[in-house]
């Protein structure tokens, strides 16, 4: 499934609108990470534990959004937006929404395959670099 945050997809044309799709997840950080983070907080810099946690959570909300799109029979989601909001202390909601559509490659572009939409949130190292051949 193609996932982009633009209103158009380069090389593709939009055929049909399927409707709004969304996905959310609320994550709480666990105590071990919290303690490690508060120690790191003394010297500043990146808090890797939280970065991973939020990346993973955002991937999940994106996957929920994509599965909704699949149910609607769409093959792409355009104009995706992310928001984050702190619900209570130590818990955050990650929300992704977009417009599900069906698309088709434009003339002379039949062979292009797009990488998996959720690959943007693969953990580092295994960054699903499915480069179109």
């Amino acid at each position: 499934m193609i996932v982009v945050n633009t209103e158009i997809i380069p090389g593709f044309e939009i055929l049909e609108l399927k409707g709004l799709v969304q996905g959310n997840t609320i994550r709480a950080k666990h105590l071990g990470r919290d303690i490690a983070a508060s120690l790191k907080n003394l010297v500043g810099g990146e808090l890797k534990g939280y970065t991973e946690l939020l990346t993973e959570a955002r991937r999940q909300s994106l996957e929920r959004m994509m599965s909704q799109a699949q149910q609607l029979g769409a093959n792409a989601v355009i104009n995706v937006r992310f928001t984050t909001s702190a619900i209570t202390q130590g818990a955050a909601e990650l929300y992704a929404y977009g417009t599900a559509v069906t698309v088709r490659p434009i003339e002379g572009n039949e062979s292009v395959t797009s990488p998996d939409g959720a690959s943007a949130f693969r953990p580092e190292g295994s960054s699903g670099s499915q480069v179109p051949a």
Binding site: V4, V43, G45, R81, F82, A120
Partner: protein, 161 residues
């Protein structure tokens, strides 16, 4: 004062002084190292055109697109937190937090561009940057900020035979 009184004074103020010193020396070193890393990474990665326009830049003709993103959680050090809370008494600009936000944004963009690089993108369009404060605890005034940068990587069109 006897040695016992000195010892008591140290036990009361010691941890505070050690933490401030640790924040000042280690924190500044970490920050300098981070900026240095960012400069080298940006030199490599910002060769791909990056824009927050919604459409493809002129001259770029893509054959596909994919979402790319990068995120980072950055935190301030103990010294800067204390310095900022003093600054809040008189108001004005808090330079150290400005630098913290800059670090977060540049790092997030770098990570996003790294993904675009892996996918052989020819451009990244419609860049969006969002910031959210996480972990605002009552006892912990030091900011922890998550920065996420996301955009659409334009993939090259297949060479028509």
């Amino acid at each position: 004062m006897t040695w016992l009184e000195y010892f008591n004074l140290f036990m009361q103020c010691g941890p505070f002084i050690i933490l401030i010193g640790l924040g000042f020396f280690v924190g500044s070193a970490v920050e300098r190292a981070h900026f240095k890393r960012l400069r080298t990474k940006e030199k490599q990665l910002l060769t791909i055109p990056l824009t927050d326009l919604k459409t493809q830049p002129p001259g770029v003709i893509g054959g596909g697109a994919v979402l790319v993103s990068g995120s980072v959680v950055v935190a301030s050090d103990y010294f800067k937190t204390i310095a900022a809370s003093l600054r809040k008494l008189i108001g004005g600009e808090i330079r150290s937090f400005e630098r913290l936000m800059e670090r977060g944004r540049r790092e997030a963009i770098c990570r996003m561009m790294q993904q675009a690089h892996h996918m052989n993108a020819i451009a990244v369009i419609n860049l969006r940057i969002e910031t959210s404060s996480i972990g605002r605890m009552s006892r912990n005034p030091s900011p922890m900020v998550e920065v996420i940068a996301y955009g659409t990587a334009v993939l090259p069109a297949r060479q028509s035979s």
